[in-house]
Symmetry: D3
Subunit: 229 residues, 6 copies
Amino acid sequence: MGMNNLGIVRRNIVRADRAAVEKLAGFGVATIHEAMGRVGLLRPYMRPIYSGAHLCGTAVTVLLQPGDNWMLHVAAEQLRDGDVVVAACTTDNDDGFFGDLLATSFRARGARGLVIDGGVRDVRDLTAMQFPVFSKAISARGTVKATLGSVNIPVVCAGAPVNPGDVVIADDDGVVVVPAAVAQQVADAAEAREANETGKRKQLAAGVLGLDMYKMREPLAKAGLKYID
Amino acid sequence: MGMNNLGIVRRNIVRADRAAVEKLAGFGVATIHEAMGRVGLLRPYMRPIYSGAHLCGTAVTVLLQPGDNWMLHVAAEQLRDGDVVVAACTTDNDDGFFGDLLATSFRARGARGLVIDGGVRDVRDLTAMQFPVFSKAISARGTVKATLGSVNIPVVCAGAPVNPGDVVIADDDGVVVVPAAVAQQVADAAEAREANETGKRKQLAAGVLGLDMYKMREPLAKAGLKYID
Amino acid sequence: MGMNNLGIVRRNIVRADRAAVEKLAGFGVATIHEAMGRVGLLRPYMRPIYSGAHLCGTAVTVLLQPGDNWMLHVAAEQLRDGDVVVAACTTDNDDGFFGDLLATSFRARGARGLVIDGGVRDVRDLTAMQFPVFSKAISARGTVKATLGSVNIPVVCAGAPVNPGDVVIADDDGVVVVPAAVAQQVADAAEAREANETGKRKQLAAGVLGLDMYKMREPLAKAGLKYID
Amino acid sequence: MGMNNLGIVRRNIVRADRAAVEKLAGFGVATIHEAMGRVGLLRPYMRPIYSGAHLCGTAVTVLLQPGDNWMLHVAAEQLRDGDVVVAACTTDNDDGFFGDLLATSFRARGARGLVIDGGVRDVRDLTAMQFPVFSKAISARGTVKATLGSVNIPVVCAGAPVNPGDVVIADDDGVVVVPAAVAQQVADAAEAREANETGKRKQLAAGVLGLDMYKMREPLAKAGLKYID
Amino acid sequence: MGMNNLGIVRRNIVRADRAAVEKLAGFGVATIHEAMGRVGLLRPYMRPIYSGAHLCGTAVTVLLQPGDNWMLHVAAEQLRDGDVVVAACTTDNDDGFFGDLLATSFRARGARGLVIDGGVRDVRDLTAMQFPVFSKAISARGTVKATLGSVNIPVVCAGAPVNPGDVVIADDDGVVVVPAAVAQQVADAAEAREANETGKRKQLAAGVLGLDMYKMREPLAKAGLKYID
Amino acid sequence: MGMNNLGIVRRNIVRADRAAVEKLAGFGVATIHEAMGRVGLLRPYMRPIYSGAHLCGTAVTVLLQPGDNWMLHVAAEQLRDGDVVVAACTTDNDDGFFGDLLATSFRARGARGLVIDGGVRDVRDLTAMQFPVFSKAISARGTVKATLGSVNIPVVCAGAPVNPGDVVIADDDGVVVVPAAVAQQVADAAEAREANETGKRKQLAAGVLGLDMYKMREPLAKAGLKYID
């Protein structure tokens, strides 16, 4: 093995279990992040390009060079039904790496969406297609095809490590990555957490205070909280 | 009194006059800010989490610690019908301090919305509830309950000083704070300003120039403006 | 001529050919930017104030001073049907230079919209009017009328040089400027490009890979790309 | 009283006790901030314009308008020996409000330095003069004298509330504000804290672990910390 | 002429008059900016890579592509004694386009320094060489040589238009561009301004107030300034 | 294994070979980054707290919670001679996690410095100690000791993945991470690269153009570069 992973396309990757992915698709990003013990989130600057965009699938990872989208074309061939493309860049770059042509190609190959630490364009078309994209920026600026990156190597995308085959879930609250090996475990924990929240919601709606429901009064007093008039 | 206000909950606060608050609810943030003489705005990075969100109410203030939402639970108990929670933080922090459970609790206690110099989550649920929130960020990241802040002390939220009981108004243009003592006066000034604008709007729509309507030609010439062909 | 262009209003400007402007209105910003050879874009922080806003017209340029919107009133008089106001500022400033009264005036004079490297307010009214605005910020903060800038001089707006009479096109993907002298040439190139894309889109939708359609396999191999299992 | 404090100069302000100010001058910003219970800091974007700059004095506050330094000239007259000018702005603005001429004037009137939530220029001259300045930006851009702000009203500077007469201390670590009423109390607490640190420093230098010195092992274990090999 | 200037190197440019350039070298950036009527500044994020760096020379302009420094090598051949390289980029990019090898080459060709709206590296070596650089960032990240930009075309660098042959002056306060055609005029105005400031500095040092020296009391009163006790 | 690595301290880590680390210490960050094939850099916002700071050592990694430096105390016990502490945070946070007391402790345990994606304080003392720190921010704000993170787990620090035992090198150009397994290989490649650069530097200093030395004229012509007069 060399000193770096540049110029490589890995064809065979181990995708998370399909049933676990489908179960995870039923939960929100906040719930999954909590169910994992508060890890796995991408930085909050990653935003949906249209209101209501959401996705869940297995990661095909891409490492891009600035102003260069060559590797997205390479990635298209590696897609299978149910995948999500997760694109990182070797440096900060907001150019428009992706638009409606690539979205058409990705969708034809089975992709469920794109998560990209960079810019995208053709937002109106992507919205009309309802092709979900979570990105750092929107920019009409075009890119070249000149320098190699990689496909299906481990990447860091918006601060989070992502391995090929991991589950990626994104909604209005952000983007979370679940390692393939714990997908089922996290899905189960998310289910338990959500069940637990339903009861709490009812109590709170009825006017019960979190102070009482979570039994916070004693620890608050111990911490020294003072009530004054 | 000590050197700081940390670890304190003030129970009795003087809220702005109800009638003044209701009158202020009828005006936009830009109008109120102008009516006050161009003061009272929070920094423009405070944005609604859904299009069309707006609120008006009396401030219950909260000082949070980074990554810690304990004080929001404490604040819930202090809420009365017509209040808005205004949450500042001791440092810059974008974590998701607030979500749909707390919104359910706040609403059950009478709150009209939240203004928070930090992050929130469960945006889809909050939108479905039509619970208006103005925040610095959206983030799924959870918070702990470990360190004391305060409730109902004077705070600085997004650059603006806010005292408990002040009127807070927020809409698509941002967030403005009206000190309780001048709420009626500001509401009256806003009314006068708006009446004045209606006439101007008609003239401008008819093609009259602001240059003439505001009598700007002479001061522009005095300032040295030159027209060339 | 003096050392600078401050305090000047140029009345006679050469606007781009009307037919070319109308043709350009039929294409998106990304297409036009590509058709020009990837130049002419404003920085991507320029965003529409409402979803779906778009505009195309000839530039009436304005140079503003921070916190001062005097020159926008001066610009209103220079507008003709089909113009777009392009406002730069002598420094970074997010104040609300523009609102519904000025929009009413601009529209009455024939303006098709506003591009401003600064803030605007009255977003709800502007949306109701469907008056398209692309700005750096939204802010309720009011401005004064005290210091001269200029109208219809060459400006740099959000990083792009703009001359009076240039064509300005803006949509969800951003804002692009087409020099008046090449407007027809760019419109023709955009048309050719779009025709070309239709065929590509069909192929990609049918599952053809960009790798094959664009004949990338050989240059990728030459660049050293390695496939591993 | 009106709705706002614009256009006002307060001549008589109550400055913090001179002896307390002098004692505070002997401590660093981090120590004083801790001694106050972790409050009073300005946002960390406030930086010294030259390495080693530091200051301590009583605040003469200024509220500036964007791109306008008129009020700094007004403030000069209100200065007494031992004062520090603390300048806030009604909006975000990085222009060069202050340079060597104003520094010469301020020094002649007894000022010990400047804290400004904006830009300054003539950095080389200010460094040669050893006139300490803590600012948000350095910018050569000049300002006008056209719009009123205020002098010696309560302001929010870089996120912190500052009242005229408060003690302001700044060094390489940032800027802290001590309310005049608690200046002596804070100075005493800072002294106690510093004495306490000396002993700790010796132990740590000798290789004693903070884990033992602060008795953290038990609470860490209770919190669930696990050691693995 | 085509629609854009990409892929072009202009060999013959008209440089500003040598005597005017030498005279401008004697003044600071703030003085020159004021002498021009407050125009010509680059955005204040452009900073020297070492304390005390300063430069003055005639611009050889470069338009770079993101992550690509090919055009800097092309520019080296166009340098003459007394030139300064002014490098813009087609998009925001902080990569390390420039280091000590290029500095060695530029200096051997007569360059007086570099102004670059991007990143540089080898800061220690550049400091040891006392090769002045003003940049947006410092970054060790290397760049490729794959995509054409241009040399000696008009560019927008950090918000300011720069033409080949213009005079560029940079110091601790920032970077200013003087069009070649007005170089002598600006140099003379700077001289007059500086002479004027010497007298003012003496008065201010003697305790005279700017309020009196600039006769501000009357306009302040007219504007409505109120003194209270 | 659980779903996450929170609340864990790994005691036995495999550090990079000592000889390789010492060899790497002889090269700059830019050289090492190039020798690795342009990977391994932390984002360029990581800056030295004093001019000339540099470090090289084996990573003891820390994952911090926002506003909480408990884990730095835990990390101290895991340090060996030649280590560098590399601290990531679960979210963006600029608080002052580290100061002169912890530096005293770290140095007593053999640490060569700190790389932290957060804030530090006591900058003057750290400079006097010549304890090298590379951080995102400087802030006097204190932190609590309440919530668990981890020590010696894989982390992402300022965008780069770091494993315990990796080599970390930092200087004026930034921070680079070399995986322990390739430390010797990278050191050798850096040596070769530096030898190669010496010859180039001489040629460039003699006025040879990079265009000729790197044989760029033909590829530039092929890419379509045009020289005009």
